[in-house]
């Protein structure tokens, strides 16, 4: 168990080093694309902790991404806290809020009611923001003044500078996923997913674990938001609505549950590729719908499942793996 965890953490860290190298070498017009991949990759991987490991279907993951962004921007601009402190507090606060609302509500529900409850929480956050124009900018959103016209470290542009932070968040999310999956906690999560009542009989309470994972996943989503908002210089309620949450779910389902490679493949195919080829938004929506339909019909395990099938068919590839 421990050996697997260490090996996989090593791979995650190596990938992080590689990503830092790419982030400093990528041409200027592609930095935003790289940041999009990192941010959506981290969001989808953290989402998979709930969907893949516990069979919970949240409809409000993007809301915590937005909440993290808003909290750090407001703490920085209104309260005057330095950005690292504001960001750290925002992440912890989002995880705590998730735990507090999670324990009585989310932890006790499963399936459909879990989706409805998280949908309600997400919509509530969007409504609160839209109805407070003074503090949170209302429907117009907030402009982030930090970093405008300032010199960034290493002479980087602000986009490239935030690439490094997003790599850090991305690696943090990967490490969380690796450690959860290859620890005794991961076994207990699978046990709860398989059979809640039998898990109760053995003395562990599913409510506690669902709340814990909901809090961790929401905190990680908030961390992405903290890095995203100052990078683009703006945060608005559109980026945290249910549409966005469902889009994240689509990326994960197309990529494949419980598979880091699958989740990232989903992000590359449906988020990064359409931006790279500058496709119309309607074409992208059609692609997402089409991919979901194909996956549902052909291979419910997503791209990861297709890849596994391919390697099973080709003996050459199997030997290489």
């Amino acid at each position: 168990m421990r050996a697997t965890a260490l090996r996989r953490s090593g791979i995650a860290l190596l990938l992080g080093v590689g990503l830092v190298a790419i982030a400093s070498a990528v041409p200027d017009n592609r930095v935003l694309l790289m940041n999009t991949f990192l941010a959506y990759g981290a969001l989808v991987l953290s989402l998979d902790l709930m969907v893949g490991d516990l069979n919970l279907l949240p409809a409000g993951h993007a809301a915590f991404f937005g909440a993290g962004g808003y909290a750090s921007v407001v703490l920085n601009q209104e309260a005057g806290w330095p950005l690292p402190l504001a960001g750290g507090v925002a992440i912890v606060a989002c995880a705590l809020v998730a735990a507090v609302i999670g324990f009585p509500v989310v932890g006790r529900t499963a399936g459909m009611s879990f989706a409805v409850v998280t949908f309600a929480i997400g919509e509530l956050m969007v409504q609160i923001i839209s109805k407070s124009p003074e503090l949170l900018g209302g429907t117009q959103g907030l402009t982030v003044t930090w970093g405008v016209g300032d010199e960034m470290p290493f002479g980087f542009s602000i986009y490239r500078y935030y690439s490094l932070w997003l790599v850090a968040v991305f690696v943090m999310v990967m490490l969380s996923v690796v450690w959860v999956r290859s620890s005794h906690l991961g076994l207990r999560l699978t046990a709860i997913r398989d059979d809640e009542n039998a898990a109760r009989g053995l003395g562990f309470n599913p409510v506690v674990y669902k709340t814990l994972i909901f809090a961790i996943a929401s905190g990680l989503a908030a961390a992405v938001g903290v890095m995203w908002a100052p990078m683009v210089g703006y945060i608005g309620p559109d980026s945290m609505g249910t549409t966005e949450s469902i889009f994240l779910l689509s990326l994960l389902i197309v990529g494949g549950l419980r598979s880091v490679g699958g989740a990232l493949a989903g992000v590359l195919l449906l988020m990064v590729a359409p931006l790279y080829f500058e496709l119309e938004p309607t074409v992208r929506i059609a692609m997402v719908g089409g991919a979901l339909a194909i996956i549902a019909l052909v291979e419910p395990r997503g791209i990861a499942g297709l890849a596994r099938r391919a390697t099973d068919r080709l003996p050459v590839l199997r030997r290489a793996a």
Binding site: H184, L187, R188, T190, A191, R193, D194, D195, N197, A198, R200, G201, L202, G203, F204, N205
Partner: protein, 233 residues
């Protein structure tokens, strides 16, 4: 002079779910090391009784005490484990992972591998299939695994809910032999909730019959247990 409290003592227990009364008024005592069968038809309240004894349902009236202390949500940590009916193994986990998860409450106290090896000695079949996903085992093997998984927590009281349900006669014999051996080796106390009275008679020291949430007959001997039928039809 104090009278020593019985190992498990259930006093005038009642459990209700809304307006439905699952257990109306049940009292029973189990001595340490004893195996007591509670037999009854579907809906007699056996499972609810078992869950109340292991702190898994909210008790509406009466009391459940384990060695003189009331039982609550901490029942599993105090050694009272419930093995649900229908061999609820975790199908996605391997046999070995099922056992490892079962050792959850004892993880800090000792190495789970020691207890795993004890289980493998008792049921060599599980050792052979250690790396197989539990969902692929036969019905009898799954039942053995479900019991072994609970034993990983080194319980003092094992509540078995219909371990014979859906098993072939051969598998029932295997489970009987396993539980018999287990009592000899570990002296674990067993509360057996059953419909199959013949199976219960082979294992239990004595039995009682419940019907519609109440105790109908008490202190049945093994012979009496084997002779009655509690089937609904």
């Amino acid at each position: 002079m104090t009278i020593e409290a019985p190992f498990l003592s259930v006093r005038r227990l009642s459990v209700t779910f809304g307006k439905a009364i699952a257990v109306a008024d049940i009292s029973l005592d189990v001595a340490e090391g004893e195996c007591v069968a509670v037999v009854g038809a579907n809906g007699a309240g056996k499972s609810t009784l078992g869950k109340a004894v292991t702190g898994l349902v909210h008790v509406s009236g009466g009391s459940v005490e384990l060695t003189g202390q009331p039982v609550g949500a901490d029942a599993a940590r105090r050694g009272a484990l419930y093995v649900p009916e229908g061999r609820m193994v975790f199908p996605q986990l391997t046999v070995e992972e099922n056992l490892k998860v079962g050792a959850f409450t004892q993880r800090r106290l000792g190495d789970w591998r020691t207890q795993r090896d004890v289980m493998y000695d008792l049921v060599p079949r599980l050792a052979e299939r250690a790396r197989v996903r539990a969902g692929l085992l036969s019905g009898g093997e799954q039942q053995l695994l479900a019991i072994a998984r609970a034993l990983m927590a080194r319980p003092r009281l094992l509540v078995l809910d219909e371990p014979s349900l859906g098993l072939s006669p051969t598998a029932i014999t295997t489970v009987t032999r396993f539980l018999g051996q287990l009592r000899v080796d570990t002296g674990v106390t067993i509360l057996l909730l059953e419909q199959n009275t013949a199976f219960a008679a082979r294992l239990a020291d004595r039995g009682l019959v419940v019907s519609l949430g109440r105790v109908e007959r008490t202190s049945l001997t093994q012979t009496q247990l084997g002779a009655i039928s509690v089937a609904t039809e």
